[in-house]
């Protein structure tokens, strides 16, 4: 797998669907966070699905076609990438909010701030959903020993930034000409 340090000894998987840790290691497991997450994840799992059937709680057992647990370093790296894109999404939302709420109005273009701010907020939500989709695809590829799929996130960000730069230029020009 690309990026794997072949000199490293194999690391026993212990995250998520991997084998459970030895009882002595359970003593260092987090209490607050773990309990909070188990409560939420149990609620999600026990919710009836769209066909009205109760979803079985599989506990720590992976589905039969869920592949094998990858090196935890890659799982962590995938998670960090997701978090980085999530922060980018939040930054887009804050930028949109800031444009609408903090910028002075463009002279002669009363709709200018909304034209700039609202798409930024919407794109923030799009980036967040795309980041989750990207994490899912990468995780699936790692679990099945497949090459990592090409990420669509840079393309999305490029389109967003280029589009916003174009719209900003139009708004500023329209404001200057009036």
């Amino acid at each position: 797998m690309a990026g794997r340090d072949l000199d490293s000894p194999p690391i026993p998987a212990r995250l998520g669907c991997g084998p459970k840790p030895a009882p002595d290691r359970m003593s260092v497991a987090p209490c607050w966070g773990q309990r909070f997450f188990e409560m939420i994840s149990t609620a999600i799992r026990s919710r009836p699905n769209r066909w009205g059937c109760e979803v079985a709680d599989s506990g720590d057992q992976p589905p039969a076609d869920d592949g094998t647990e990858p090196d935890p370093r890659f799982t962590f790296a995938n998670e960090r990438t997701f978090l980085a894109w999530s922060r980018t999404a939040l930054a887009l939302v804050v930028a949109g909010l800031g444009v609408v709420q903090l910028l002075p109005p463009f002279p002669g273009v009363p709709w200018g701030r909304h034209v700039l701010g609202v798409p930024l907020i919407v794109f923030g939500a799009v980036v967040a959903v795309s980041a989750y989709r990207e994490w899912t695809r990468s995780q699936w590829a790692m679990r099945h020993g497949q090459p990592l799929p090409r990420s669509i996130m840079p393309t999305i960000m490029t389109v967003i930034i280029a589009a916003m730069a174009l719209v900003s230029a139009v708004v500023v020009l329209a404001s200057a000409l009036r």
């Binding site: 690391i11 991997g18 987090p30 909070f36 998670e79 980085a84 922060r87 804050v94």
Partner: protein
């Protein structure tokens, strides 16, 4: 380079973590929680109730980063929260025109 599996931020007495993957992931969760706090602060300037709700989400996000399970559920929660934040922001934008 070796790294150990385990929950972010939790010590693992069994193996050294030379790659510090767990610590880096824990820090990434902390940064994400701080980002949520920043958004909450911005919203709080205009809308008190949504801002306070967003600030209340911050410890929940931080706690999510402390759990051992790296599954889709907790990342789904983060995604859903960001989408909710975007909806709140849109509401704030259109209320204060």
């Amino acid at each position: 380079m070796t790294a150990t599996p385990g929950p972010p931020g939790q010590p693992d007495p069994g193996q050294p973590d030379r790659g510090l993957a767990r610590e880096r992931t824990s820090l990434a969760w902390t940064r994400t929680a701080i980002s949520f706090a920043a958004v909450g602060g911005v919203v709080l300037k205009r809308e008190v109730i949504p801002g306070l709700i967003l600030l209340a989400v911050v410890p929940a996000i931080w706690l999510l980063g402390r759990v051992a399970h790296t599954g889709p559920e907790k990342l789904k929660l983060v995604t859903a929260t960001i989408v909710a934040v975007a909806l709140v922001a849109l509401g704030v934008v259109f209320i204060h025109r």
